[in-house]
Amino acid sequence: MSNSAITPPPRALVVWMALGKTLAELRANRFLANSKMRSALAILIPLSLLILLAPVLPLQAPLQTNLMAMMQPPSLEHPFGTDRMGRDIFSRTLEGVKISLKVGLSVAALALVMGMILGTLAGFFGGLMDRSVMVIVDILMAFPSLLLAIGLIAIMGTGLVPVVMAIAIADIPRFIRLQRSLVLGLRTRAYIDAARTVQASQFWLMSRHIVPNSVAPMLVAASISAANAILVEASLSFLGLGIMPPAPSLGNLIREGQLYMEQAWWISTLPGVVILLIAISFHFLSDGVRQALDPRTRK
């Protein structure tokens, strides 16, 4: 017991109060105040943690075979069971999720950046620039998206980089269209005219007025595109045109299990549930981003 006038509060209380304060701040945050955003993060954060922790978790390595434990149904040791070579489906699924997230985020980022640049140029300058960009957009949009990606894979070959490129190229036209329509709407606003009257440069107009005002809807589109890219990558890998075995991706895991549907339902079914969860969480994310960034729905 100390006799000093001011007793420092117990450390536990300090930590507790700080935690409470952080939680209150988090609750006030406009992204987290949103229930859809919270459900999305409730799936994505544990999933990302699992992926990051996978090397230290007591799991069999994704590529390690174990001929003593082939085609085992789900158990405590193998939560998703094992395949015909005794590989652990759960750790393979986690590895697949890693690839899925990589593909989803890279495609969304690529499509967002390319879409913003080309869409802004086309919408802002109009004329020949607009026409030449839109001709290519129209031709690319004449192909159903998965089929365009399949055609591009036929040219570029399989693997992670070609898959990302193929899906992104199939997706970019949509982003260009969206950005262009946003720019066309913004171009005639009064504040743009005001900036023009004080001799603002074209670059200033685009970087200070046009782009910041079109970011929100484009971000919403990007999170939908990420979900879509994950599904397309899975479809491509399922068709044998994406990520090639033995590297596990959710699509080729399902492809491998296809032959054993009757004897071992878990090989295909459980990774499929995981894809569904990821796709749903990205859609919730897009709804959440939309609500958080739309000033009309802000409290």
């Binding site: 004449a142 089929l147 040219i155």
Partner: protein, 315 residues
């Protein structure tokens, strides 16, 4: 109407030319050239040179392009590399299968989605939130299910476990019943995601109309609820629904490739995947053009139908 159709037709022609050009030049981007890629490690030296000669790759580029266009116009699509069958015969036998799957899916999806969406809208309008939330929530989850996964689960349940539908077997048009049983599951799988999208769209469209003044007037005149729904709500909701059917046709074509692979159906999608796996680039380029033209044509038809259905547009 005529002027509008002609304008759209012109756009159709321009896009078609664009698609053909893009496919032709994209195929020239293959590392090395198409002949080397097709041959892989099997041919070299004189044999490879002969294949190049056969494929016309030694001609100047514009001559190749011209020959390509001319052959497309007279439907001389070449022969497949592995089986040496005329590609046009292959398309003639595969296209009806893919097209019947697509058509049946659209019909089934419309038959299910429109009553479902209307019901959800009606419930939402009347304040019965639970049923509406159930339908819309379910629709979202179904729309996001990867179709290849749904297909596998259906195959497991309905073919392998319950044995209701055959999982494999030839498709011969002489036996319509067997064709129907064989195509039933793929159509069911594909229509699920279409129903999900279409019912949501119907719900939104009908819900918008239900709060219009003329619907209130109709009710005030003592019309029955059903009559109000059918005479006013659905009729006005038809326009957005037509648009969505046209737009989601692309997704439908994507889906046919996948269900054909799973249910081993010899449609265009299967031919395409086999073509890619055997590196038959001449076959692949023809099929890419086939899919694109089909999609473009459906969009054209939707545009025309939309204009024809809209009574506000006078000609």
């Amino acid at each position: 109407m005529l002027a509008y159709s002609l304008k759209k037709l012109l756009q159709l022609v321009v896009t078609t030319i664009g698609v053909v050009t893009l496919v032709f030049f994209a195929m020239r981007l293959i590392p090395g050239d198409a002949a080397a890629a097709m041959a892989g490690d099997t041919l070299s030296g004189a044999a490879l040179e002969r294949l190049r000669e056969q494929m016309g790759l030694n001609e100047p580029l514009f001559v190749q392009f011209w020959n390509f266009l001319r052959n497309l116009l007279i439907f001389d699509l070449g022969r497949t590399m592995t089986t040496n069958l005329p590609v046009s015969d292959l398309i003639k036998s595969a296209a009806p299968i893919t097209l019947s799957i697509a058509l049946a899916t659209i019909v089934l999806a419309i038959a299910i989605a429109i009553p479902l969406g209307t019901m959800a809208a009606y419930m939402a309008h009347k304040g019965h939130k639970t049923l509406d939330n159930l339908i819309t929530g379910l629709a979202m989850i179904i729309a996001l299910m990867p179709s290849f996964w749904t297909a596998l689960v259906f195959l497991l349940i309905f073919s392998l476990t319950l044995g209701w539908f055959p999982a494999s077997g030839a498709i011969s048009w002489d036996d319509p019943y067997s064709v129907m049983m064989r195509l039933a599951l793929p159509i069911l799988v594909l229509s699920m995601s279409q129903v999900a999208i279409l019912s949501r769209m119907t719900r939104t469209a009908v819900l918008d109309v239900l709060s219009e003044d003329y619907v209130r007037t109709a009710r005030a005149m003592g019309w029955s609820e059903l009559r109000v729904l059918f005479r006013h709500a659905l009729k006005n909701a038809a326009l957005p629904i037509v648009t969505v059917v046209g737009l989601s046709f692309g997704n439908l074509l994507n889906g046919t490739v996948i269900v054909e692979a799973i249910f081993t159906i010899p449609g265009i999608g299967t031919v395409l995947i086999n073509g890619i796996n055997s590196r038959d680039y001449q076959l692949v380029q023809v099929l890419m053009i086939f899919y694109a033209l089909l999609f473009v044509f459906i969009n054209f038809a939707t545009d025309i139908l939309y204009r024809a259905l809209d009574p506000r547009v006078k000609f």
